[in-house]
Symmetry: C2
Amino acid sequence: MEKLTIAAARQESAIGQQASIDGWIRTRRDSKGGFSFLEVNDGSCLANLQVIVDANIENYESEVKQLTAGCSVSIRGEIKPSGGKGQTTEMHAASLTVHGWADPATYPLQKKRHSFEKLREWAHLRPRTNSFGAVARVRNCICRSIHGFFQDEGFLYVHTPVITASDCEGAGEMFKVTTFDLKNVARTDAGEVDFSQDFFDRPSYLTVSGQLEAEIYATALGKVYTFGPTFRAENSNTSRHLAEFWMIEPEMAFYDLNDNMDLAESFLKRLCGDALSQCSEDMQFFNDRVDDTVLTTLQGVVDSQFQRVTYTEAVDILEKSGVTFDFSVSWGADLQSEHERFLTEQHFKGPVILYDYPRTIKPFYMRVNDDEKTVRAMDVLVPRVGEIVGGSQREERLDILE
Amino acid sequence: MEKLTIAAARQESAIGQQASIDGWIRTRRDSKGGFSFLEVNDGSCLANLQVIVDANIENYESEVKQLTAGCSVSIRGEIKPSGGKGQTTEMHAASLTVHGWADPATYPLQKKRHSFEKLREWAHLRPRTNSFGAVARVRNCICRSIHGFFQDEGFLYVHTPVITASDCEGAGEMFKVTTFDLKNVARTDAGEVDFSQDFFDRPSYLTVSGQLEAEIYATALGKVYTFGPTFRAENSNTSRHLAEFWMIEPEMAFYDLNDNMDLAESFLKRLCGDALSQCSEDMQFFNDRVDDTVLTTLQGVVDSQFQRVTYTEAVDILEKSGVTFDFSVSWGADLQSEHERFLTEQHFKGPVILYDYPRTIKPFYMRVNDDEKTVRAMDVLVPRVGEIVGGSQREERLDILE
């Protein structure tokens, strides 16, 4: 007998199959006609499979009628067409095995919606909710697309060190890594910290960026990318600042800024397109329940040709807009979120790539333009998201670097 | 004009194409006939492309004849059939641009082989060597296979936290993570470390395993895997102990030990098969230069059905072998490397899965067998590698866990 996921069992093609499914009970409803409806989920998709269990099953009274949310079961039966709303199929159970019970008096996940604050308290059960399940499936899809895109483009995946002694030109505050007993840190006779007694013999940190290592690989292997955890010890509790996050860093030898922009644009189109097509049910759920602009925004990324505008042109547009911003706009200053939002959401109404930034607000390694005032840097801005990719063409002229 | 990688330009199918290539010079040899042979590599494959540059190219004297190992170039020309040994094609250059020079007096990579010890000193140039390039390509291939395998099997990729307050049942010594100034760690009035002043308000560490988090996802989403960096602060300088390494942890709900063994076996076959077929040139290089058993070992993993033997049977085989081991064998003791090697290399001459280990040498969460002496644990052993996968069926019976 074939084991089917709920996602597979919900497909029309499964109709007529004798199969078994595994999963967790979401709800049980007993009919007066002497049978029960179970909603079963296994995380393979947002939707549940409806299972109809007849009272003549051996353990109907002793077990089936005791099933509550969270119970873990395996069910064998036949997949049949369903007349129910929102479902093509249902299972008619031939047998049901309970692996684990969930005491309804203490099992906290109920049919109602729970706040994210409340779900923080039940971290071990959160993935069983629709929201966290959808996040996990979409995140998996995005990760698959990231690797798929770069592998298709001939990039090599490299793992750069997480523990490092380098601070990568100060991209952010760093966490220290140590094996010292913090109560009793080793000291030299002069009273300094004696790092020779620490694990790595020197001050060690969590990486803020794999850029330096990825550049080294790129200048030997051509096109490489990293995709790994990165750390910033900044105490900013915003939705855009995390102490630990996964970051993608592609590095390409022989690419100029236009090549970089082409790559960033096709990368984002691929990721958004895959999320929309491969996780349509989950994305619709987010659009219905969390943010009703999500589908439009992502479809906009897929469909539109990204506008490419120099920083200087962007400042000009902002100055002539007649809009009063909280932060004033002037050539040479970094653009603020409100400026980026105006450009993408009001003016261009779509993704924008800004490039040729003032040299003074960008790091030393970006290639200087002939005007000697701007450098070959770019930022990709997306409506309602803001900056999503930053990059540059590197300065390759040794005399200018020196 | 199409940009080709060296790997693509070396294919017979490229013959006749006008193309451009980018890369780094490995060697230059001048013919008396008034032209030069360049060996160019871009990291897309182990082998170089031979480029023939005629003296009538504009910058022949001024630049081409100055080229040395490490120079970075772009070359346009035609791909032609080659009569040279080990190559199907060669490029006849129409123009050549130098992006970066490498002073032969100071550029350290020479045509000869360099020791790994020496290459440690030139970390920024190592990926330009055949060995490190091959490692990077094979590692990329393995990573692609890891994701490909699990995605094909319907697993979700989850990212488990790197910074953690949990020590995962003591899988190894942990690194501490802190933002304290180590010279001046905050103290409470009682003289203890005052973690309320540290970034996370509590003692924090680098993860030794994502198992706990992955189990939580598995008991909601069915089949998940992690693939991320893991840390052990153990001061053992062996080839099998690293402070930082990437680990794969699959967790599956509703899988028993046989399912786990099937998964481990097909996973290893996929990885070894992909390395042999997709990186044949690099694997041949390792077989020629590093370990002449590598191809046989990997092909053995692909071709053989893994033997499945209980721990008890394995101890019996070892006891009856007549071999004198450094560590004696007796039921209840952990097997040593020499025992594992005997089983895979001498007795079974192939991969072996040992299972049903004594309860006393395995953690509490593994499912107890009816004999109450052994648990549903397994280790996959491979010739010349040793243990490569470990796993277990979890104890799901609450009364036994309690």
